[in-house]
């Protein structure tokens, strides 16, 4: 969900920056949909999206004093939300490494897909079938407008990694949506 149109009155932002809980609640109400949807699209499930929403606003409440008003408030909150969502993906990946080992049990994060669908599927279903990292790159680039350099940086990888994941995503979507 894009939230460029969302704005919060500057007076309210000023109050929130001083720690006013009522003002922070207003900020939460204004951006909860956008943050939840971002989390849901990147992580792919309700539970993690809820964690992203909660962790993001805990961080917003803790750090909004540092928001200097350069750029939009949504831009700043979105940055926090993306970090939290990617952190969850990493945590899940590490958990799988812990249980299955470095080489086993991880293909769904970047590589092989679950069994191929019998026929064409809709975009929503196709998105859900993409490996988490591939889906995250697709969403961040094509919907949220992040550049490959920014995505590479966020993921601790290179811009080339982001580009190759985006190509992979579109190749899979092409196969599945036809």
């Amino acid at each position: 969900m894009r939230s460029d149109a969302l704005t919060v009155a500057s007076a309210l932002v000023a109050q929130a920056r001083e720690g006013d809980l009522k003002a922070l609640e207003s900020v939460y109400l204004a951006y909860q949909n956008a943050v939840y949807n971002l989390g849901r699209r990147i992580c792919g499930n309700e539970e993690d999206a809820e964690d992203v929403l909660q962790d993001t606003f805990l961080e917003v409440c803790r750090s909004i004093g540092k928001f200097r008003g350069e750029g939009s408030l949504w831009g700043w909150i979105r940055q926090v939300a993306v970090s939290k969502a990617l952190m969850l993906l990493r945590r899940e990946r590490n958990r799988k490494i812990h249980f299955f080992g470095e080489t086993g049990g991880l293909p769904e994060f970047v590589g092989n897909m679950p069994r191929e669908p019998a026929g064409p599927i809709d975009l929503e279903t196709a998105l859900g079938r993409l490996p988490p990292v591939t889906r995250a790159v697709l969403w961040l680039h094509d919907v949220e407008g992040y550049t490959h350099e920014e995505i590479g940086q966020l993921m601790g990888k290179t811009a080339s990694f982001s580009k190759s994941q985006l190509s992979r995503a579109h190749r899979r979507l092409r196969e599945w949506l036809e």
Partner: protein, 208 residues
């Protein structure tokens, strides 16, 4: 994967879609109907992705966040963060003390469960906890600016203390056994020690 023999690769098409493709790729698309269709399809997929309907967030999450924020503020007061975050403006400290006192649980929820734990012979660990808290209160500068990794570490440690305090304060209702209670207090002491070391023993990692 090639889109087709002699056609552009997917990454070349995506670069064109994003306005980054080279002149030769652009020239190829102008002359190639297959690649034109493929490029158009990529535009459409992006538009469809942006048009996907949204999900409704769970209700009632804000009170949970607000509760955590209040708890954190109490902890920070107790650990001597002073009024930095709370009272960026002079009046704020008063506002929040009043708000916390009227809306939330008592400002010092520590006491009841501390007394309970003391009666269970956990005195040495509780004394150590108090000693460490007192160290932080006494020596932590009133105004502290951290570099990003230190800020993250402080934040994680504080969250752990909050979680432990929550568990300890609910220990009776949860029917926590004595051994576990001892472990929890032990963990609290260790976490506070790490926090003290981080903040007081390694000034070079902290900007003041």
């Amino acid at each position: 994967m090639r889109v087709g023999t002699n056609h552009l690769e997917m990454d070349e098409l995506l670069a064109l879609r994003d306005g980054e493709g080279g002149a030769s790729a652009r020239a190829h698309v102008e002359a190639c109907e297959g690649c034109q269709q493929e490029l158009e399809r990529l535009y459409q997929v992006r538009a469809q992705l942006r048009a996907l309907s949204g999900f409704a967030p769970p209700r009632g999450l804000w009170p949970r966040v607000a509760r955590h924020v209040r708890r954190r503020r109490r902890l920070r007061r107790r650990l001597g963060y002073g009024a930095v975050g709370l009272a960026a403006a002079a009046a704020l400290a008063g506002v929040y003390v009043v708000n916390d006192a009227t809306r939330g649980p008592p400002a010092e929820p520590l006491e009841a469960w501390v007394i309970e734990a003391e009666s269970q012979d956990l005195g040495p660990m509780i004394s150590r906890s108090r000693e460490l808290e007192s160290l932080l209160q006494t020596y932590r500068p009133a105004s502290q600016v951290y570099d990003a990794p230190t800020a993250l570490a402080v934040s994680v440690l504080e969250d752990r203390i909050l979680l432990l305090d929550r568990l300890l304060s609910d220990s009776r209702q949860l029917g926590v056994k004595r051994e576990l209670l001892r472990d929890l207090w032990g963990e609290r002491v260790e976490t506070l020690e790490t926090l003290v070391n981080l903040e007081l023993a390694e000034p070079e990692t902290v900007w003041r």
